[in-house]
C-alpha cells in the first residue's frame, strides 16, 4: 500500500512538469491519464483496512485520509475531462492565451490537494495547504480580467493571513505536544494522538480556536469567507470546480485533524461550541445571500459556503451517525458541486455571460447538460435520490439523536431557504422557453460527459453506497472519536 501513496505523490507532479512543455493535445491527454489514474489509486486504498504508510512515515493514509483523498481525486479526474472540452484554443477564445500554464497549474493544484490528506503530521499538512493557496491564487488570476485580478489579490491576501493564524495554531499544538513528548519530536499523528489525553487544556483550546479561524478562512466559514464568492466566480470554471469541491474540503480535513486531537485532549464540548458558531453563521448567511445573487457562479459559490456550514454543524453534533453523515456529505458535495459548476460552464459558454438576467431557457438550449445542470442544482438542495439527501438526513438524524432538536430544526429551515433560492434561479433561467436566437446544441461532448460521471456518482452515493465505502466511512468516523 505504501507504493500507492508514493504513486500518488509522484504522478500529478510529473504530469504538471510534462504539461509545462508539451503541446496542447499531449497536455490534455497527460492530465486526463493522471486524473483518472489518481482516482483509481484512491479506490485501491478504499478497500484496504490497514493504515498505509510510506517514506519512513512521512506519508500516511488512514481511513479519514482516504475519504478526503477520494473526494479530491474524483474531482481531479472529472475536472480534467471537463477541462479538455473547456480549453479549445482553436475557437479563438480568451483561454487560448494561457492554456499551457493552465494545465501545468491544474495538475500542480491537484497534486497539492492530494498531498494534504496523505502527509503525516500537522506541520506538513499546513505546508501542503499553503502550496494549494499559492497555486490556486495564480490559477484564479490566470484569466487576467479586472474581476479576476481583484479576486486573486483578495484571495491570496485573506487566505495567507488565515493560514498565518493556522500556522500559529500548529505552533501552539506543537508546544502542547512538547510538554509531553519532549522538546523535539516529529509531529506525526499517531504520536500526537497518543499523547493527547495529557496535553495542557488551555493551550489545546487556544490552538483549536485559532485552527478553526485560520483554516476556516480557507474553508469558507463566515465571517472569514469574504474572498470565496469573488474567487470562485472569477476563476475559470475548472478551477472553480476544484476550489469549491476539493479545496474547501481539504481545509475542512485540516480542521478535522485538529478536532481529532482536541477531542481526545479536552473532550467534545469546546470544539462543539466553536464549530457550531461558525457553522450556523455560514449556513444562515449563505442561505440569505443566495436569494439575491445575479451571477451564476457566485450563486454556486454561496451554495458552497452553505454546505461548509452544514459540515461544521454536523461535526458539532458529534454523534456517530452525524459524523458518518458529514463524511458522506464531503464526498457527495464534491460530486454535486463539481457537476453544478460544469453545468454552469456549459451554460456560460452557450449564452456568453454569467449574468442570471441574460440566461433564459437553459434546458431547451442544451439538450444534455441543461437537464443535468438542473438535476445537479436540485441535488445540491438535498433532493432524493442523490447523495446529499442521504448525508444531510444522517446529519439531522445525528442531531436529533443527541437531543439537539432545535439546532436540527434550524438546519432544516435554512437548508430549505437555500433550496428556495436555488429553485427560484432554476425556474428563472433553466425551465423558461428558449429564445429563438439560441441554437439548440451541446457546446462540447467532454464538458457534458463530465457531468454524467458526477451525477452517476451522486446516484450511487444516494441510493446504495457500496459496502466498502460504508465500511470506510465508519472506520473514519471511529478515528474521529465517534465512539469515545
Amino acid at each position: 500500500m505504501g507504493a500507492v501513496l508514493i504513486a500518488i505523490l509522484v504522478l500529478p507532479l510529473a504530469a504538471s512538469v510534462v504539461c509545462l512543455k508539451a503541446p496542447m493535445r499531449a497536455a490534455k491527454s497527460v492530465s486526463l491519464t493522471s486524473g483518472v489514474a489518481t482516482f483509481g489509486l484512491a479506490l485501491v486504498l478504499v478497500s484496504s483496512h490497514h493504515v498505509a504508510t510510506a517514506l519512513a512515515g512521512w506519508l500516511r493514509a488512514d481511513a479519514l485520509s482516504v475519504v478526503f483523498l477520494l473526494a479530491v481525486s474524483f474531482l481531479y479526474g472529472t475536472t480534467t475531462v471537463f477541462a479538455i472540452g473547456y480549453m479549445r484554443p482553436a475557437e479563438g477564445l480568451a483561454e487560448a492565451r494561457y492554456s499551457r500554464r493552465f494545465f501545468a497549474g491544474l495538475n500542480l493544484f491537484a497534486w497539492a490537494m492530494a498531498m494534504a490528506p496523505i502527509v503525516n503530521g500537522l506541520a506538513l499538512l499546513w505546508v501542503a495547504i499553503e502550496v494549494t493557496t499559492v497555486v490556486s491564487a495564480l490559477l484564479v488570476a490566470i484569466g487576467d480580467t479586472d474581476g479576476a485580478v481583484e479576486a486573486a489579490w483578495k484571495y491570496v491576501l485573506l487566505a495567507s493571513m488565515g493560514l498565518g493564524i493556522a500556522l500559529l495554531a500548529t505552533v501552539f499544538m506543537y508546544y502542547a505536544g512538547s510538554t509531553v513528548l519532549g522538546g523535539s519530536y516529529e509531529i506525526f499523528y499517531p504520536k500526537l494522538l497518543g499523547a493527547a489525553p495529557h496535553l495542557p487544556p488551555e493551550i489545546v483550546r487556544l490552538s483549536f480556536g485559532l485552527a478553526v479561524l485560520g483554516f476556516g478562512t480557507k474553508m469558507g466559514l463566515v465571517p472569514v469567507h469574504t474572498w470565496l464568492p469573488d474567487a470562485h466566480s472569477e476563476a475559470p470554471t475548472p478551477v472553480s470546480a476544484l476550489l469549491s469541491g476539493a479545496l474547501l474540503t481539504v481545509s475542512f480535513y485540516a480542521i478535522l485533524r485538529f478536532y481529532q486531537v482536541s477531542v481526545r485532549a479536552i473532550g467534545p464540548a469546546f470544539p462543539r461550541d466553536v464549530l457550531l458558531v461558525f457553522g450556523l453563521a455560514s449556513l444562515v448567511l449563505a442561505a440569505l445571500y443566495l436569494a439575491s445573487q445575479r451571477d451564476l457562479k457566485r450563486l454556486l459559490a454561496y451554495s458552497s459556503v452553505e454546505h461548509m456550514g452544514i459540515l461544521a454543524i454536523g461535526m458539532s453534533f458529534s454523534a456517530p451517525i452525524a459524523m458518518i453523515g458529514v463524511l458522506l456529505h464531503v464526498l457527495a458535495h464534491a460530486a454535486a458541486k463539481s457537476t453544478a459548476f460544469f453545468g454552469a460552464g456549459n451554460v456560460i459558454r452557450k449564452f456568453g455571460s454569467k449574468d442570471l438576467d441574460r440566461i433564459r431557457g437553459g434546458v431547451g438550449a442544451l439538450p444534455w447538460s441543461g437537464p443535468m445542470f438542473l438535476l445537479a442544482v436540485l441535488a445540491l438542495s438535498a433532493m432524493p435520490p442523490f447523495g446529499i439527501f442521504r448525508s444531510e438526513f444522517l446529519i439531522v438524524e445525528g442531531g436529533l439523536s443527541i437531543g439537539a432538536t432545535a439546532l436540527s430544526a434550524v438546519l432544516v429551515v435554512f437548508v430549505t431557504c437555500a433550496f428556495l433560492g436555488l429553485s427560484w434561479f432554476a425556474s428563472q433561467t433553466m425551465v423558461t422557453p428558449t429564445p429563438d436566437s439560441v441554437v439548440r446544441s451541446e457546446v462540447s461532448v467532454w464538458m457534458a460527459g463530465s457531468m454524467v460521471i458526477g451525477l452517476v456518482a451522486l446516484v450511487v452515493l444516494g441510493v446504495h453506497p457500496p459496502a466498502q465505502l460504508s465500511g470506510l466511512l465508519e472506520r473514519a468516523a471511529a478515528e474521529l472519536g465517534a465512539h469515545t
Binding site: A123, A137, V156, V171, G183
Partner: protein, 224 residues
C-alpha cells in the same frame, strides 16, 4: 509582580529588547508612507528575528538553528526585500496610497490591540526553555498589529508587507514555543514563504498591469 519566565539574565534581557524592536518596527510600518522605507523596516524586522533565532541556538545548543538563522537571514533580509524593491522600482511608484484613518488613531488602535494580545498571552501557562515569555507576548502583538496594517492601508505593497510581518510574528512565536521543530519542517516553512513572496510579487505586477496603480481603491467591483 508576575514573573512567568526564567530568571532574568543579561541574555534574556537582550532577547527581550530584540523582540521589542520587532514590535516597534511593526509600529513604524504603520506610519511609513514610502514603499521603500516599508520594505527596509521589514528587512530590519527580519534581521531582529534572525538574531533571536541565533539567541535560541546559543542557549539551547541546537546547531541546526544556526543553519536556520542563516537561511532566514538570507531569505527574509536579503532576497524578499530585493524582490519587492525591484518591483517597486519597475513600477516607479514611490509614495504609497494614503491611510484610511490618521496616524495617531492608528497608533492608538495598535496600542489597544497590543495590550489585548499581551494580556491574552500573559495568562497562558507557557514555560519555554529557549526564550523568556515576553517575546511570545510581543509576537502576539505583532500579529494583531499586522492585521491592522493590512486592513488600514489601501495599497498592495503595504498589504503584502503586512502579511510578511505576520509571518515574522509567527516565527518569533515558534522560536519561543517550538524551537525543537525538526529542521525539515522549518525549511519547508521558509521555502513556502519564498514561494508566497513570488506569488505576491506576480500578483502585484498583474494588479499594476491591470489598474495602473498600486492602490487597492479600485478593487471594489465585486460586492455582495
Amino acid at each position: 509582580m508576575t514573573s512567568l519566565g526564567t530568571s532574568p539574565t543579561t541574555l534574556n534581557d537582550a532577547a527581550d529588547v530584540v523582540a521589542l524592536l520587532v514590535l516597534l518596527s511593526e509600529f513604524a510600518m504603520l506610519r511609513s508612507s514610502l514603499s521603500r522605507s516599508q520594505v527596509r523596516l521589514y528587512a530590519f524586522q527580519s534581521l531582529c528575528v534572525s538574531i533571536l533565532a541565533g539567541f535560541v541556538a546559543a542557549t539551547r545548543h541546537i546547531v541546526e538553528l544556526y543553519g536556520l538563522m542563516g537561511m532566514s537571514f538570507l531569505l527574509k533580509v536579503i532576497v524578499v526585500p530585493l524582490i519587492i524593491v525591484r518591483l517597486v522600482k519597475e513600477i516607479r511608484v514611490d509614495v504609497t496610497a494614503s491611510h484610511r484613518i490618521g496616524v495617531a488613531t492608528m497608533v492608538l488602535l495598535a496600542i489597544v490591540l497590543s495590550v489585548f494580545g499581551v494580556f491574552v498571552v500573559g495568562h497562558l501557562p507557557v514555560h519555554s526553555r529557549s526564550l523568556p515569555i515576553l517575546p511570545l507576548a510581543l509576537a502576539a502583538a505583532v500579529i494583531l498589529v499586522s492585521f491592522l496594517l493590512v486592513i488600514v492601508r489601501n495599497d498592495v505593497v503595504s498589504q503584502a508587507i503586512g502579511f510578511f510581518s505576520l509571518e515574522n510574528g509567527v516565527s518569533v512565536a515558534s522560536l519561543v514555543l517550538a524551537a525543537g521543530l525538526p529542521l525539515i519542517v522549518e525549511l519547508a516553512f521558509l521555502f513556502d514563504l519564498l514561494v508566497a513572496v513570488v506569488v505576491f510579487g506576480l500578483l502585484m505586477r498583474v494588479h499594476h498591469g491591470r489598474t495602473g496603480t498600486l492602490s487597492t481603491q479600485a478593487l471594489d467591483r465585486l460586492r455582495g
